[in-house]
Subunit: 218 residues, 2 copies
DNA sequence: AATAATTTTTAGATAAGTCTAAAAATTATT
DNA sequence: AATAATTTTTAGACTTATCTAAAAATTATT
């Protein structure tokens, strides 16, 4: 049996290891889990004994196949529940994460496969993140950060990098949602802020905003 | 903050205390929670310190108003989730309890109020048990056990006493569901088995079955 | 009313997950 | 290459929830 705490560690290691080729460090896990490095060392030993991670002292960890499978399943559940909350229960996209953090630990294969069907097999969650299928396959779409788009590009919003409530509310306030079409008009050399046009309206957004919004160039 | 374990103890005490006027005994809780009496004593002390139960050594416990409120809220969540599983995710009534045992601990007021609305404010769960409303009010309906019905009574099934999988599957097999109409035809003096008529078909059921099926005489 | 049976509580131990403080190893800087 | 800074691990302690075994209180039986 896997505990809730173990699941959360495995998920954290998965998210931290997704990019870089390097092992995930103790401190990185500690930061992500909001706990102390010493606690992480203890847990990492346990996860290693249970075969969820490969671990060599002082060298950080990587998920084993078994560990990765568990992580992906948790991510799948998390994102399906987020879709449910938005599509069926009228949550807004900045309210779902906290609840999904709890729901992702519910153990029932039937529950998830039926939920998936009920939601008509969604491929992405409310933040544009892909939902792994039953087999754990994740479909990658070619998205870029808005900050990397070129002047003149016509784009469509497909996801967010940061999904903090503050950022999502900012987007709501400025009528930016997934599916919104926009054009990149101008980049200010000094601060890398960019001017975008949404429908008829022009809007200036900081580099930090552009760095957290994924778009597809059309 | 209230832990998952505390919630389960409070719920157990609620269910055990629902009938009798007496305090709930340590052993009764131990049996219900599948744990040892000594563990119960420890927990009961903690619940008492936190103000969820009234406890005097060797005298058992009763829920305080605060404790009852928590218990009823858990029951409300449990039963709403059961409705969701049956109505929306095509679970059968013998499959929902285990999953609802997990879902009942998810903490989010909005989740439950929205779920309630999404399900169109159901008043009873798939086993005929009443769902407390947002204020904790429980509507009692006047149901009797089928074993208490009189010969000649026309009845409608409104609930089950036991909701074990074995019992529910027996009912499924014999086309007895909530809402099913039946007539009590005959009671055998020797073993108290009774003959009932469902639509055109006659069926003999044991006293034990009749003792676990709630009906309303129409 | 005394004794026996049962229930409940206490005492002490264990496992999971966390913490602080100190030691050890690794990495960066001179 | 030596020293300094940082990261990671270890050692020991604490909390929650559990257990077994023994003691204490209650309840039932003679
Ligand atoms: Mn999320
Ligand atoms: Mn998401
Ligand atoms: Mn149930
Ligand atoms: Mn039920």
């Amino acid at each position: 049996m896997i505990t809730l705490t173990e699941e959360n560690y495995i998920k954290a290691i998965y998210h931290l290891g997704k990019y870089g080729i390097n092992n995930v460090s103790t401190n990185a896990i500690a930061k992500e889990m909001e706990t102390k490095a010493s606690s992480v060392t203890d847990m990492v030993k346990k996860l290693s004994e249970k075969g969820y991670v490969d671990y060599k002292k002082y060298q950080g960890v990587t998920l084993t196949e078994k560990g990765k499978e568990i992580a992906i399943n948790i991510v799948r559940k998390h994102r399906l529940w987020e879709v449910f909350l938005v599509e069926k229960l009228n949550f807004s996209w900045d309210e779902v994460h906290e609840v999904a953090e709890q729901l992702e630990h519910i153990k029932s294969k039937k529950l998830i496969s039926q939920l998936d069907a009920f939601l008509e097999f969604p491929t992405h969650d409310p933040h544009g993140d892909p939902i792994p299928d039953k087999m754990g396959h994740i479909k990658k779409i070619d998205k870029i950060l808005l900050s990397e788009a070129k002047i003149g590009n016509d784009c469509i919003c497909v996801g967010v990098q940061d999904s903090s409530s503050d950022f999502l509310k900012y987007l709501d306030k400025n009528d930016i949602a997934l599916g919104t079409e926009l054009k990149v008009c101008h980049r200010e050399a000094f601060d890398n802020s960019i001017t975008i046009k949404i429908k008829a309206k022009e809007l200036i957004i900081s580099n930090m905003i552009a760095n957290n919004l994924f778009v597809k160039v059309s």
